[in-house]
Symmetry: C2
Subunit: 204 residues, 2 copies
C-alpha cells in the first residue's frame, strides 16, 4: 500500500511538471505527509513485533527489511515531493522544451519500483538482481538529459535557470531509481542474509 | 565513533576538492565502505537488544533512534563520498574559482553534525531545536552559491560543466546539513516521544 502511494506520487509529480499543473503539484506536496505517517506506522509495528515476538533469523531479517523498505519508500516520496516543488518554483514559466526523456526516466523508475516490491513479496533474488542492473539504463538516460540540458545552456544563456530546474527534476528521478536498487539489495539480504554493497553516486 | 568517521570523511572530501587532491578523494571513496559496515553493525546490535531484552518505552525509543542515527550518518558518508567522486571527475581541471563559500558551508554542516550528536548524547531537546533552525543559514548560503554559479555560467558558457560540478558539491553539503536536522528531530523524538515533521527540499 505504501508502495502504491509512492508510485502514485511519482506519477502525479511528473504529470504536474509536464502539464504545468500547479494544483496537482500542491496535492503531491500535501499528500507526502500521509506517506511519512505510513512509514512511522510500519516502523512501530515492526519494532513492536521484534520486541514482543522475539522472532528468529529469517523472520527477524524480514522485519528489518520491511523497516528499511518503508524508509526507502518514504525517501522516494520526498523526491516526488521535490519534483512537485520544482513545478511550483517554475510557476507559469513556459517549458524550456517538450519533456520526453524525463517522463521516460520516470516511467522506468516507477517500473523498477513495482518490480522491486514484487521481488520483495515473492522473495525473488533473481528479479532483485535484474532491478539492480536496470539502474545502469536510468543512469545512462540521466547522463543524456544532463548533456542535452548543458547544450541548451551553452546555446542560450538566458535559459540557464529554467534548464537547472529540469536538471534537478531529472536528478530526483535518478535518485528514485537508485533507491529501488536499495530495495532490491534489501530483498537479497532478506532472502540470503548477504549484504550487497550499495554503490553511491556523486550526488546520492 | 561512527559520527567522527563521517565528520572526517566530510572534512577530507572538501580538502580533496579544494586542493585537487585525487589521492585523498580516492581514500574517502574507499573508506566509505567502513562507514557502511559500521551502520550494519550498529543496526544488528540494536535489533538484537530489542529482540532479546524487550526494552520498554524510553529505552525502545532510544534504540530506534540509534538505528535512525546510524542510517543518517551512513547517508552523510555517501554525500561525502559523492563530493570525493566529483573531485575525481574534475581530474586535473583548473578550479573554476577559489572555493570560499562551499568550504564555509561544509564547516557549518560539520559543526551542526557535532552539535546534533552532542544533543543526542546529552538528550538535549533545546540544542536539537537550535541545530534544526541553523539549517536555514546553510540553505541561504547554498542559494547564494547557486546564484553565483549561475552568474558564472551566464558570463562564460564555456565554464558551465565546471560550474555544475561545484553546484553538485554544494548540493551534497546542503543535503548533509539537512540530515543533521533529521538527527536533531530524532533526538527530540527520543526524549519527548513526539515526531516533528521533516521538511523536504526540492532536491532532497
Amino acid at each position: 500500500m505504501m508502495g502504491s502511494m509512492v508510485e502514485k506520487a511519482i506519477g502525479r509529480s511528473l504529470e504536474a511538471l509536464k502539464n504545468r499543473d500547479l494544483l496537482m503539484a500542491e496535492e503531491v506536496v500535501r499528500d507526502d505527509d500521509i506517506i511519512d505517517d505510513k512509514q512511522y506506522e510500519i516502523e512501530e509495528k515492526c519494532i513492536d513485533l521484534i520486541a514482543t515476538q522475539q522472532p528468529m533469523a529469517v523472520d527477524l531479517r524480514t522485519l528489518v527489511t520491511v523497516m528499511h523498505l518503508a524508509g526507502e519508500l518514504e525517501r522516494m516520496g520526498d523526491y516526488a515531493e521535490g519534483i512537485a516543488k520544482i513545478s511550483l518554483m517554475m510557476g507559469d514559466e513556459p517549458p524550456l522544451k517538450p519533456l520526453i526523456d524525463i517522463p521516460r526516466m520516470a516511467t522506468m523508475a516507477s517500473d523498477m519500483l513495482r518490480r522491486s516490491l514484487d521481488a520483495f513479496v515473492n522473495r525473488d533474488v533473481v528479479s532483485s538482481m535484474v532491478v539492480r542492473n536496470d539502474d545502469d539504463e536510468i543512469d545512462a538516460l540521466y547522463e543524456q538529459v544532463y548533456r542535452e540540458l548543458l547544450t541548451f545552456m551553452l546555446g542560450d544563456p538566458t535559459v540557464i535557470r529554467r534548464a537547472t530546474y529540469l536538471l534537478w527534476a531529472a536528478h530526483n528521478i535518478e535518485r528514485i531509481a537508485d533507491r529501488t536498487t536499495n530495495i532490491a539489495e534489501n530483498v537479497i539480504y532478506m532472502v540470503t542474509g548477504e549484504r550487497i554493497d550499495v554503490v553511491a553516486s556523486p550526488t546520492s
